[in-house]
Symmetry: C2
Subunit: 203 residues, 2 copies
C-alpha cells in the first residue's frame, strides 16, 4: 500500500469517528487533520471539501456495517425471521460496545446525518437516502424469503421493510437521546413483529 492511500484512509477513519461521536458541523477540517496526523495540504489533495470527505465516510461506514453486522445478520443460510432477530441482537451489542468505548450512544451515522443535514444539504441527503435504502433492501430480502417460506402471513413486504427500518432508526435515536444503550436492548426486539398488511399499505 502506498503512503498516499494510507493517508487517505487515515483521514476517512479519523473523520468517521469524530463526526459519529460529535456531529458534522462540530468537526472541522483542522481537527480531522490533527486526529489523522496529516497536513491540510494533504487533506485537500484527497478531498476538495469536508462534504466530499463525508461522502467517503458514508461509503466507509456502510462497508464496515456490511462486514460487522449486515453480512452476519442477513446470511441467506439462516431462516428468514432468524436474520431479523440477529440484526436486532448485533445492533444492541454494537451500541453497547460503542457506549463502553466512548461513553456515548452514537446511534446510527446515517440517521444522525439525515437529522442534522437533510434540510440543508441536498447532496448529503441524497447519499444518506441511498444508504438507508440499502439497509431497507437487506430487510426486504429477509421479509420476501419469510413470506415465501410461510414464516409470515400476507404482508406488504416493501412497506413492512420500510417500517422496520424506521423503527430501527427511531430506537437508536431514543437510545442516543437518553445516552442509554439499554434502550436498544429493551425496544429493538419488537422489530421483527412489525407488520404492514397489503390493504393498509394500499390505503
Amino acid at each position: 500500500m502506498s503512503p498516499s492511500s494510507d493517508t487517505r484512509e487515515r483521514i476517512v477513519a479519523s473523520a468517521r469517528e469524530l463526526i459519529y461521536t460529535r456531529s458534522y458541523a462540530d468537526v472541522g477540517v483542522a481537527q480531522i487533520c490533527d486526529a489523522a496526523d496529516v497536513k491540510k495540504g494533504s487533506f485537500y489533495h484527497f478531498f476538495p471539501s469536508k462534504r466530499e470527505l463525508t461522502l467517503a465516510v458514508l461509503d466507509e461506514t456502510y462497508a464496515d456495517a456490511k462486514t460487522r453486522m449486515l453480512d452476519r445478520a442477513f446470511d441467506p443460510q439462516l431462516p428468514p425471521l432468524q436474520r431479523l432477530h440477529r440484526f436486532v441482537e448485533l445492533n444492541a451489542q454494537i451500541q453497547a460496545e460503542l457506549f463502553a468505548e466512548t461513553g456515548v450512544v452514537p446511534g446510527c451515522q446515517f440517521g444522525n446525518l439525515a437529522a442534522e443535514q437533510a434540510t440543508q444539504d441536498a447532496v448529503l441527503r441524497a447519499r444518506v437516502g441511498v444508504m438507508l435504502d440499502r439497509l431497507q433492501a437487506e430487510i426486504r430480502v429477509a421479509l420476501g424469503d419469510a413470506l415465501a417460506a410461510g414464516e409470515v402471513a400476507a404482508i406488504d413486504v416493501d412497506a413492512t421493510a420500510a417500517a422496520m427500518l424506521a423503527y430501527f432508526e427511531g430506537v437508536l435515536l431514543i437510545a442516543k437521546s437518553h445516552n442509554d444503550p439499554g434502550v436498544v436492548a429493551r425496544l429493538l426486539p419488537a422489530l421483527p413483529d412489525i407488520r404492514i398488511a397489503p390493504a393498509a399499505a394500499a390505503g
Copy 2:
C-alpha cells in the same frame, strides 16, 4: 404586553423556525437577531447563550405541539385507540403542511436536536430527554386507558409506549432523509398496532 416580552418572544420564534428548518449548529446568534429584528445587546439581555435560548425554544416547541396536536389527539373524551389514530393523522398533516410551506420535511425538533447534540451537550440532551418522556407519557395514558377498556390484550404499557414513540421518531427521520412527507402518511398508520408483550419486556 411590554416591548421587552415581545422582543423575547420574537427571538424565540425566530430561533425556533431557523433551527427547525436548518440545524442547531448552522444557526448563529447574529442570524437569529437579524430574523427577529433585534440587536445583539437585546439578545444577551434575555439569553446568556444560544444554548439557553435553545432551552426556551424546546419549551415553546412543546407548548405549541401540545396545543396544535397533543391536546387534540390525546383528548380523554375519545376512545383510547382512536387517540393514537388521531395522533398519526395530525402528524402526517403537520409534516405535509410544513413541507408545503418550507420545501423541506423538518421532522421532529426534539429528535433532530437529540441526533445532533446528544453526544456533545449533556444539558440539551437532558432537556430533549424530558420532552420525549412527556410525549411518551401522552401515549402511555392512551394505552393504559385502552388496556382498561379492553381495547388491547395484555401488553407492557410502558415498553409499548416507548416503542411507539421510537417508531414515531424513526418515521419522521426517514421522511426527512427522503424529504418526502408521503413517508409519514404511508408508514405512521402502523404505529397503533405496535405491541410489546409483558413477557418480552421482562426478558
